[in-house]
């Protein structure tokens, strides 16, 4: 799926103080992108548009040429995109397993009741079955982040968004996750977009987009 950002401008309160103006970006499937920028530069704001959680002041987001508003925001969120949030955003009343099962049920996946599949996905991010059935509140920050990643992997959406997805992980675990993302793009043909302030991490992506002085510049081909 090709994700395009067309003529996007956004500001929160004052149009004269726009976060960015006339942004045009294209994200192709089978590629792993990194968007790098300083804290406060507007990365999470951009993610909220790409994830269909908010609409920009002007401009549009489109999938294969079709504006996401036309697809319907709920349908877009359910079937086209999966997001790994900076703050994990797990359902705290549930276990890791239940978080994944719930996400699968919402996306109407046939695997919502496939125990082996869910445990397998969790194992891919290093969460064993014992940890998988505990309340996620009893897991460490890093473990919770990995559950959030597993949730995104499980739903198998064509577009994967990650906001500082490795922020709470040690070096080894970070590398493993990056490998997972690369794998998703290259082996599974997904459109993977990682948002980070970490320049070193961004080097692992196929393409790096720099957000600086209200402009996005593609710096690596």
């Amino acid at each position: 799926m090709t994700l395009t950002v067309k003529n996007l401008s956004h500001w929160y309160t004052n149009p004269d103080e726009a976060l960015y103006r006339d942004v045009n970006l294209t994200f192709e499937d089978g590629k792993f992108y990194a968007i790098v920028g300083e804290s406060g530069s507007g990365k999470t704001t951009l993610l909220s548009f790409l994830a269909g959680l908010d609409l920009p002041a002007t401009g549009e987001i489109a999938v294969n040429g079709k504006a996401i508003e036309q697809i319907g925001l709920t349908a877009y969120r359910r079937h086209e995109v999966s997001t790994i949030f900076q703050a994990y955003n797990l359902l705290t009343t549930m276990s890791a397993y239940q978080n994944l099962a719930t996400a699968l049920a919402i996306t109407q996946s046939s695997r919502a009741k496939d125990k082996a599949y869910i445990f397998d996905v969790l194992a891919q991010v290093g969460i064993d079955e014992q940890k998988a059935v505990k309340s996620v509140q009893k897991l460490s920050g890093g473990e919770q982040q990995r559950v959030a990643i597993a949730r995104s992997l499980a739903v198998d959406a064509p577009i994967v968004l990650a906001d500082e997805a490795t922020g709470n992980l040690d070096h080894d675990n970070s590398l493993k996750i990056i490998e997972l993302f690369q794998n998703l793009a290259h082996q599974h043909g997904k459109t993977v977009i990682l948002i980070t302030h970490d320049q070193a991490l961004a080097l692992k992506a196929d393409k790096k987009i720099l957000l600086e002085k209200q402009r996005f510049t593609q710096v690596k081909a």
Binding site: T44, L47, S48, A51, L53, D54, T74, A75, R77, R78, H79, T83, F85, Q86, A87, N89, L90, L91, T92, T93, M94, Q98, T102, A103, A105, I106, T107, A112, S135, V155, D163
Partner: protein, 478 residues
């Protein structure tokens, strides 16, 4: 279906919160249930209790018609100048025994009691003279001081059913006394004339043509008038002698005629239908049917008051309960905005999120309903008793008022009746009208409806929070 499962997981994960909500719901539903039970019980009691109070229909002379007849007689008397000492008299019409028996065959007649009366004079014994009878001297005491009250049975006669008269010695008049001269006399009459069971007394009857005959009566029983505070200054009630109605017919030479019958209704609420049917069998120019359902209506009204009071409780508690639970749910929903936002970000529809909250609430209310049902019986029993006690004391206060009004001189007939009716009411209220506070499947169903209403209102209140939810908010760290 997924949202139902989510509801279950949430309820289980947040056990403390779930428990608190269940307790709150149980308390609210318990109040609603108490109201519902009392309301139903009161409506039920209104039916059964008022039936037990009963109503009677009396067949007697059509006084209006009789009065008109008397007037025309008076005018004919005056036109044809004098007619001796015969002053015009109100005719007492009668109806045939066979007609009465026909009416008694109608449905809804539980029993009937005939009363034929004749005014006779004592012969060879003396009637009781009231010392307080100021105008008593105007009446010839010997002439018609004795009231002969011919009944079917004394046991069925209102003087005895009301409890004012009681048999002291011997026995009362029974159906087997038909065509006999057996009589029941008052204690006072027996004492002053030294009469006993087995004694014989003689009475004199003077008919319209001034012919006088004497009749012997055999005393089979002696009764005591327990009220004896009668305001009747004309005729002492102790001068009433009870016989079978056939004896009165013999005295008056009116065989198989009946002047007064009281029909006791099996179902008080069908009194008017009975009157309508029975009217076809009587000559309305002479006789009339009067239904006495004052006692019935008064009791029914009291029970309606309790029921409508309970109805108000139900509404107040339901509205208050819906408000309390609704507010709690709205606050909790606001607290759960983050959770809802995550679900929306995952692609869940907001309607299903509301569905989840609705299911959670239904489960809580269902358990609350179970608890309320289990403990509702005891609670409503206590409250129901309280309510009835209140309404009885209120009713008794009212009755004292009516009794006073009934005792207006010159209206003693009405006053007497009224007193009797009130006696009936307070007796039955105290004894029979405890509310049957029982939980019926209907009550539980009604309560379920109330619970559903509370759930719908609460979720409707919470819906604006969810529908206005901006999923982007979950991106902000908390």
């Amino acid at each position: 279906m997924n949202f139902i499962k989510r509801a279950g997981i949430t309820l289980w994960a947040k056990k403390g919160r779930t428990l608190l909500l269940i307790v709150t719901a149980a308390v609210i539903l318990l109040f609603v249930m108490t109201g519902l039970i009392i309301q139903n019980a009161a409506l039920q009691a209104a039916k059964t209790a008022t039936n037990s109070v009963g109503s009677t229909v009396t067949l007697s002379t059509n006084r209006e018609a009789a009065f008109k007849a008397m007037q025309s007689e008076m005018s004919s008397v005056s036109s044809s100048s004098n007619s001796g000492s015969n002053r015009p008299k109100m005719t007492e019409y009668t109806t045939s025994l066979s007609a009465v028996e026909k009416i008694a065959q109608l449905s809804n007649v539980a029993s009937y009691n005939i009363t034929n009366t004749a005014q006779v004079a004592a012969s060879g014994f003396s009637a009781i003279t009231s010392d307080n009878s100021g105008q008593g001297g105007q009446f010839n005491n010997d002439n018609a001081a004795i009231s002969l009250s011919g009944v079917s049975t004394t046991a069925g006669n209102s003087d005895f059913t009301s409890g004012s008269n009681k048999i002291k010695n011997g026995r009362g008049i029974e159906t087997s006394d038909k065509n006999s001269n057996n009589a029941v006399i008052s204690q006072e009459l027996a004492k002053s004339n030294n009469l006993k069971v087995g004694s014989t007394v003689t009475v004199k009857y003077t008919n319209d043509s001034d012919d006088t005959s004497t009749y012997k009566l055999k005393v089979v029983g002696i009764y005591a008038d327990t009220t004896s505070d009668s305001a009747d200054s004309f005729r002492d009630p102790a001068n009433t002698i009870y016989t079978n109605y056939t004896m009165v017919n013999t005295v008056k030479n009116t065989p198989d005629q009946v002047s007064n019958v009281s029909f006791t209704m099996a179902d008080s609420s069908k009194t008017q239908a009975f009157v309508k049917a029975a009217t076809k069998d009587i000559n309305t120019k002479q006789m009339q049917l009067t239904s006495d359902s004052t006692a019935y209506e008064q009791t029914a009204k009291q029970m309606q008051t309790v029921a409508s009071y309970a109805n108000k409780i139900v509404w107040v508690v339901t509205v208050a309960g819906a408000l309390i639970l609704g507010l709690i749910i709205i606050l909790m929903t606001r607290e759960r905005r983050h959770e809802s936002g995550i679900l929306v970000a995952l692609g869940e529809s907001k309607i299903k999120i509301l569905g989840q909250y609705f299911v959670e609430l239904i489960v809580i209310l269902a358990i609350g309903l179970g608890i309320a049902t289990a403990s509702g019986q005891a609670m409503s029993g206590v409250v129901g008793k309280q309510l009835v006690n209140q309404s009885i004391s209120a009713a008794q206060n009212n009755q004292t008022g009516t009794n006073g009004a009934g005792a207006v001189p010159g209206n003693m007939q009405a006053g007497g009746r009224q007193g009797f009716n009130n006696h009936q009411i307070s007796g039955s209220l105290a004894n029979k009208q405890s509310l049957q506070t029982v939980i019926t499947p209907g009550t539980i169903l009604e309560l379920g409806g109330v619970a559903l209403l509370i759930a719908v209102l609460s979720v409707a209140g919470a819906s604006s929070t969810i529908l206005r939810l901006q999923p982007k908010k979950i991106l902000q760290d908390d």
